[in-house]
Symmetry: C2
């Protein structure tokens, strides 16, 4: 994954702009963390990013790496897969269904979607491996949380 010099500049510029837009500082740590995530397609975990960053900044702390990663996500510069401080949940509902998870309160709601059900089948053939499950997970803010939210925040959530 050799991201050329030109692309690196773009990345850095995106980071700079994003930080400025929310009035945060551009630190060397933030640059290196972003670079290290941006230059791979391996979906590294925090520990892997930490090790990579340490090669540039030996004294960097794990805390800084985590803070920066969540920050980059909040800025829309990277996204996250898998848990972020969530626990496993269990579901014995045997009927085919999908989930909407609230980013505010964490509640998971069931919903049906014949449309989503179709897909899974047609995609099970081709692909990188042998598909066992296909899960569509929608995330957002649930009706309940929206109602108990100040209007300004609700508008922000809508824009996100």
């Amino acid at each position: 994954m050799d991201t050329g010099y030109r692309e690196q500049i773009n990345q850095l510029d995106r980071l700079r702009k994003a930080l400025k837009s929310v009035g945060m500082k551009l630190t060397y740590q933030r640059m290196v963390v972003f670079e290290e995530v941006a230059k791979t397609n391996q979906h590294p975990d925090a520990e892997a990013v930490y090790e990579a960053v340490r090669r540039h900044i030996p004294s960097v702390s794990l805390d800084t790496v985590y803070r920066t990663l969540w920050l980059l996500r909040d800025l829309g510069l990277i996204r996250t897969l898998g848990p972020q401080r969530e626990k496993a949940r269990f579901d014995a509902n045997p009927h085919r269904h999908h989930h909407f998870v609230c980013n505010a309160c964490g509640t998971a709601f069931d919903f049906d979607s014949p449309q989503f059900d179709e897909l899974t089948v047609s995609y099970k053939l081709e692909l990188v491996g042998q598909v066992q499950t296909a899960h569509v997970e929608l995330r957002g803010i649930c009706r309940h949380c929206l109602e108990s939210m100040p209007l300004r925040q609700e508008k922000e959530a809508k824009e996100a």
Copy 2:
């Protein structure tokens, strides 16, 4: 969620059959854990299941609850949402894409699907709340793991 007496019998019977089919014992702990997950649509986490089970078996251990939950999942009696001993992963790929996660090695592979992309849009209007992201996550066994797998296990994986 009042699962009637009839349905409870069915549940218990499913558990009994599933355990027998793999030569495992039907214990009171396993019955209660399954019952407690089966009788709610609240997607409880392990701690919540633990508390519920304790009302029936005060001395039950958290370890038993976890072991049983993963077992029930492996038997296909329940399913899990969210992480199971996975770490968060980070992804700076700005192009729209989805993921295939290998259940064996944990690797996440990118893949494109115009078909999957379409969906998200049409579903963003209706629903339980305000959708921010829609992520299709396929899970299974990646080609690499399939190749380094004994044939018998591969067949089992195919059936799962």
